[in-house]
Amino acid sequence: METSGDLVLDVSRQGPASVLRLTGAIGMAEACVLEEQLAQLVGQPGALVVVDLEHLDFLCSSGLGALIDAHSKVRPLKGELRLAGPSPMVQRLLETTRLTHLFEVFPSVDEALQS
């Protein structure tokens, strides 16, 4: 578990997937830590990474940028980045930015893992 400002990051393995649970809020300062953590997880060929957003209260554009950066890194390696359990506020943010067209978003981690 790692803490940065208002954000707690917790990585676990669930079968073939890495699940990154985010708790708290991601502003510009926390986005750098998220980007570094995701870079570690998506670096392996064929990596499946599920980002658990259920306990994330806030996300700014820098945090979105960290997710996009990871998506861009994992795709050439035939891997996948999936988002799970966003709150209504974060879901609206993903829709407003049209990033629901870029990411697969699932209601829960279980559903993201089973897809």
């Binding site: 510009m28 806030f58 950066d69 407003t96 990033l99 067209h101």
Partner: protein
């Protein structure tokens, strides 16, 4: 009551200033959606001022002015940079820009606040959120 805070161009100082503003919003019992909108807009505005406006120059300041009322919150953020033209920014929601990791801040401020206006130079933004 209007509050003005002048901070150096660093994220830690911005965080403290934002926190005080959001504490004032919480005291006025804004809706969850309005609170999220204000937090997002202030975060994006302060980031733009520090990163793009003042370019993290420690000698340059960011001025945050706000007035939180029961009916609406008015926020002004000014930096000491050269300014920019918001209308000249590419649309981050266009298909060709979706995979770009940056360039969403101004669009989000427009999407989440009820009023957004810049001064002629483009280094000061005034935003309004109604408590609905």
């Amino acid at each position: 009551m209007e509050t003005t805070v002048v901070i150096p161009s660093n994220l830690s100082a911005a965080h403290e200033a934002e926190k005080a503003l959001l504490d004032a919003v919480a005291q006025c019992r804004y809706s969850e959606a309005a609170t999220f909108a204000i937090k997002l807009a202030v975060e994006e505005g302060m980031n733009n001022a520090i990163k793009h406006g003042n370019r993290f120059d420690a000698a340059k300041k960011v001025t945050l002015t706000y007035k939180v009322g029961q009916d609406r919150t008015v926020i002004t953020i000014a930096d000491e940079g050269p300014g920019f033209h918001p209308s000249a920014l590419p649309d981050p929601t266009a298909d060709e820009n979706l995979e770009k990791p940056t360039g969403r801040g101004v669009m989000l401020m427009n999407a989440y606040m009820d009023e957004v206006a810049y001064n002629d130079k483009g280094n000061q933004v005034r935003m309004v959120k109604n408590n609905t």
